[in-house]
């Protein structure tokens, strides 16, 4: 069912996952692990997500916009400061409450398509 790690090209990537829905977080985590990535988190809240973004060595981050405690803008800012690539996942058609510059970031809409997720991770997080 899942692509195996060797062909995914994502092996060894440390990816922060911020998503407040347990089912979705667990699902995404399984996908990422199956692709050979190491999942940091998942974190359901602004507080936990920010801590991990601050503390962990990361190759990239996947951020749900609306999470427990508000939105992931502060986490994204922290990642930008660290020059860590990230993209958003959201259930909303048009995101609200995030700065214009962040609206130019890649946004994947839920439900997330596996192939699209893998492609975006490869494009954004894998540095040649």
């Amino acid at each position: 069912m899942f692509d195996t790690a060797p062909s995914s090209g994502l092996s060894g990537l440390r990816i922060l996952l911020v998503e407040d829905n347990f089912l979705i977080a667990a699902y995404l985590k399984r996908l990422l692990v199956a692709w050979g990535a190491e999942v940091i988190g998942p974190a359901p809240s602004v507080e936990e997500g920010h801590q991990l973004a601050e503390r962990e060595a990361l190759n990239g981050a996947i951020l749900d916009i609306n999470i427990i405690g508000g939105n992931s803008v502060a986490i994204a800012q922290r990642l930008e400061a660290r020059d860590t690539p990230y993209f958003f996942i959201t259930g909303y058609g048009s995101p609200q409450g995030i700065p214009e510059t962040m609206k130019r970031r890649t946004r994947l809409k839920k439900p997330i398509d596996e192939a699209a997720l893998q492609a975006v991770i490869r494009n954004e997080f894998v540095r040649n």
């Binding site: 069912m1 407040d20 829905n21 347990f22 089912l23 979705i24 977080a25 667990a26 699902y27 399984r30 998942p42 359901p44 809240s45 609306n66 427990i68 259930g91 909303y92 058609g93 048009s94 609200q96 809409k109 839920k110 439900p111 997330i112």
Partner: protein, 500 residues
Amino acid sequence: LTRHASGVEVIINVMGHSRTEHALAAEGVTNQVTLSDQQFRLMADCAPVLLWLSGLDKGCTFFNKGWLEFTGRTMEQELGTGWAEGVHPDDLPKCLETYLSCFDARKSFQMEYRLRRHDGVYRWIIDHGTPVFADDGPFQGFIGSCVDITDRKLAEQSLAASQARLRAIVETAVDGIITIDARGTVHTINPAAERLFGVSAAEIVGRNVNVLMPEPDRSQHDQYIRNYLTTGVARIIGIGREVVGRRSDGSTFPMDLAVSEMRIDGERMFTGIVRDITDRKRAEQRQVFMMQELDHRVKNNLAAVLSIAEQTMSATTSLDQFRTAFTGRITALAHAHSALAASKWEGIEMSELVHLTLEPYERRGSKRVHAEGPALRIPPEVASPLCMALHELATNAAKYGSLSAPQGRVEVRWTWLQDDGVRLQWQESGGPSVVTPQHRGFGTELIEGLISYELGGRSTIEYDPHGVTCEMAFAVPGPTSASRLAQAPAAAIALVKGGF
């Protein structure tokens, strides 16, 4: 002028100002006409008015043909005080009082009263009475002339009534009504508009209507009118649109404005009807917000379904197993959704939540499930994960635990902890002897994940040989923070700007 219709010479003052004429006569001005009694009668009878004369005793001494034909009575009936019989009883006291007091004061009078016509119909007449003085000075009585003013009076009354009606409509209208001229000057403003803009008619009438608008309309309104008057291109007249109004305190509000044009005495005037649409705009915004929120929930739920499918697939070994587990989980999600939708997303009672999860395992008349705890409203973001967690416990109990045995029971109790915390205990009994599973299944993972991850709480499952127990503790936010849906966005209202 004598009041005797009996052959004495009468002097008619053609101007009706006896004293002045008398003075003039004394100075030798001869615009007096001397008439014979017969000439007087002829003239009086030809006059298209009702005439009367009275003498020094205040009694009437003469009525012309016009009067007698009007009342349908004879001279004999009307002479003296006979005429008073024809005056409407309601009007008679005032009529007599006016006549007698003016008579005594030798003062001319004018009064209106109803007089019965020959056909029995009372008609309004206006009666002009004037004192009469003889050529050499002495007072001789009064002469009066009357005209039927019923038609005029009815027209006046109907006009007054129609004006009162129109005024009442405008005064009591819920919508604001303002009239301006082609220069933008306010002519009238009704009470609704006074309230709407926080101004009084006294303040605003005569001023430019643009004080009721914010910029840029305020400085451009005169130009809007000029544009319309020169080009005839209406941008609002006869169309109506949403604009922004400005109250006297400077605050603004969205309003519907409908403008119509009229001509009064050749002048172009405009009527503006305004309605505050703050509430409507808010409702519209809320609806947009609700749609977005619904969209979000649907997508999240679809994502959750995908996730459940994937993970149930990994945790089951046959299609049959998968089907049972998967449909059960999706159904639990759907039940929580239905109950929340029925509550308009305000939350559901804990007892209801427990009931809808365990209902399938209840047997008719049995007391297999016992739920007990204080009234507790569970907000949407807590209800869905809690419902799913209880579902996992229930299916497990039905498969391996107490609900798999006829005498088995489940007790669910919940209590308040401090600081919005809730403790929920699940206790099975009467089932087969419990064996601790060798590895954690997806169900256990789900329960712990949902409670700790989504609700920030904790859960412990124990496989006591007498029955499975599960204890959960989690926070239930208060009713104000209960639902994102209940919170309307504070975003600014976007409005179409415009004017004439």
